[in-house]
């Protein structure tokens, strides 16, 4: 669903809503997967991102997002300098992830590591600052950053969704959408739960306490 405020917005540092604001938002999502500034990151740019990324500041914007800067933060301009000053071991590569229309021309694969956390995501910047994360750790997902989102991997057991939605409603968090994917029956299930209210840390702790939940992260709303 397209919102008026997606169109008249975002308020952002230029020069390109897809290459700068959208790229920054993808960086912010990757940052949330490791719940903080990654110690290691590999940023693989595909298509138009690879060809024209430097001029549009895509590199600065993704790095800025990984550093936790929002799209309207003027520090984005100096993100690469800040990264170097912080001594962060982040690398850029150009890659080809597939053909159109399966793979959007503005796509990036970001591999991030922080402490014991290590994740890979593929996401695209769709224009006007809108994004779509299409894969996390090999699971097909759809995260657009327009909601606060809980992502989790759990054993595929009966009643899991009921338990999870119980925890959310006990904490006064309303579910907007819930999607479950799995690589095969009985294999681990990947859940993407978009919620209306930002879940606090207690929700994360309660979900993590479930014995069949392998990991769960909160991805904060980055747009919309």
């Amino acid at each position: 669903m397209v919102s008026i405020l997606d169109i008249i917005g975002p308020v952002m540092v230029g020069p390109s809503s897809s290459h700068t604001a959208g790229a920054c938002r993808l960086g912010l999502v990757a940052r949330d997967l490791v719940a903080g500034t990654p110690t290691k990151a590999l940023i693989e740019l595909h298509g138009s991102f690879a060809r024209t990324g430097e001029g549009h500041g895509t590199d600065k914007a993704i790095v800025g997002g990984l550093l936790g800067f929002r799209p309207d933060d003027e520090r984005l301009r100096d993100a690469l300098v800040i990264m170097e000053k912080e001594g962060l071991d982040w690398r850029f590569e150009k890659t080809t992830l597939g053909d159109e229309p399966e793979v959007h021309p503005n796509t990036v694969r970001i591999t991030v590591t922080r402490e014991h956390r290590h994740h890979v995501m593929i996401g695209a910047s769709l224009g006007a600052g809108r994004i779509k994360v299409s894969q996390i750790d090999g699971y097909p997902v759809e995260v657009d950053g327009s909601h606060h989102t809980i992502v989790m991997v759990a054993e595929d057991i009966k009643g899991s969704i009921a338990r999870i939605s119980g925890i959310l409603s006990d904490n006064d968090v309303n579910i907007a959408t819930l999607r479950l994917t799995r690589k095969h029956r009985g294999g681990d299930a990947f859940m993407v739960i978009e919620v209306d209210d930002r879940p606090d840390d207690a929700v994360g702790a309660a979900l993590k306490a479930l014995p069949w939940v392998k990991w769960t992260h909160r991805i904060d709303k980055v747009g919309g």
């Binding site: 405020l5 169109i7 230029g14 604001a21 060809r51 430097e54 021309p105």
Partner: protein
């Protein structure tokens, strides 16, 4: 949000409301927010637009590569052309100003995108130098622009990488034309004609930035996009009707975008970017950016 302008126009007529009101009410329902809350967000966008214009008109900004900047101020202070002293020139200088700020990594409102961010504030705030317009009217205009942009996003695309510049400054021209037509007293139907008239004038427009930088021709294409919007506003308010409905013109833009060769979709592989001068300038400037 609406996915068809025809539907929005029919609703506005049936309910005797402006397109802005219809759009705001649906937005409020979709997003679970109040109309006042959305108006407040649009008001903040308006303030950012004003600030960007002010910054751009100082003439002090240069883009990251140094390729563009300082030209908005020339329209403000420079020698007179046939448009000297007209509101048209006020519109053009503002469209340039915002886009120069964007190219310099300053803060702007993407409307619908950063690459096309100059057109809408250029037209609306340029017109407000001549017409007495309240902030409420300008916020209404932004809501209508948002509605038009949402329809384009749904039916076609708002990304130069997907649909060429027709999807960026072209969409912006359609949004600005429709929004300003409403703001100056046009009926919902006239808004539809203004959108169609502006958008037909940008069909096929390629995205061919030198070196892939949102600088050249982008800055100038915002000014020419604003000029096309002004022509469309003038025609629509004069009662001129365009036979192909806006929705179908937008669909056509989407179709042309899908057929457009990748060289013309923001990759700097064709168009002005691939001219001998374009290639030379891009090479020089990109080397400079890397050194910096």
């Amino acid at each position: 949000m609406y996915t068809s302008l025809a539907e929005a126009i029919a609703d506005a007529e049936a309910q005797q409301k402006s397109l802005a009101q219809c759009a705001l009410e649906i937005e409020a329902r979709d997003q679970g927010r109040s109309v006042d809350d959305i108006r407040a967000a649009l008001h903040r966008a308006l303030e950012v637009m004003r600030h960007a214009i002010e910054q751009g008109l100082t003439g002090d900004l240069r883009s990251t590569s140094g390729l563009v900047g300082g030209d908005a101020a020339k329209l403000k202070h420079g020698p007179a052309g046939p448009l000297a002293g007209t509101v048209f020139r006020e519109v053009l200088m503002r469209a340039l100003a915002v886009q120069e700020v964007n190219a310099a990594m300053g803060v702007i409102v993407a409307a619908p995108t950063a690459g096309g961010a100059g057109v809408l504030p250029g037209v609306l705030l340029g017109l407000s130098t001549k017409h007495k317009l309240s902030d409420e009217q300008l916020v209404d205009a932004l809501a209508t622009a948002g509605l038009i942009g949402a329809v384009v996003a749904h039916r076609a695309s708002l990304s130069g990488a997907e649909g060429g510049c027709q999807a960026e400054t072209g969409a912006a021209a359609g949004m600005a034309a429709g929004a300003a037509t409403q703001m100056l007293g046009g009926s919902p139907k006239q808004v539809g004609f203004a959108v169609a008239l502006a958008q037909q004038g940008t069909l096929g427009l390629v995205c061919d930035p030198l070196g892939g930088l949102v600088e050249l021709p982008c800055v100038f294409r915002n000014a020419t996009g604003a000029a096309i919007a002004m022509a469309a506003i003038e025609m629509a308010l004069a009662g001129i009707e365009f036979a192909i409905p806006a929705d179908e013109v937008i669909d056509t833009m989407g179709e042309i975008g899908r057929e457009m060769d990748v060289r013309y979709r923001e990759t700097a592989g064709g168009g002005l970017a691939a001219t001998p001068t374009g290639r030379r300038l891009a090479k020089e400037r990109l080397t400079q950016i890397k050194r910096a």
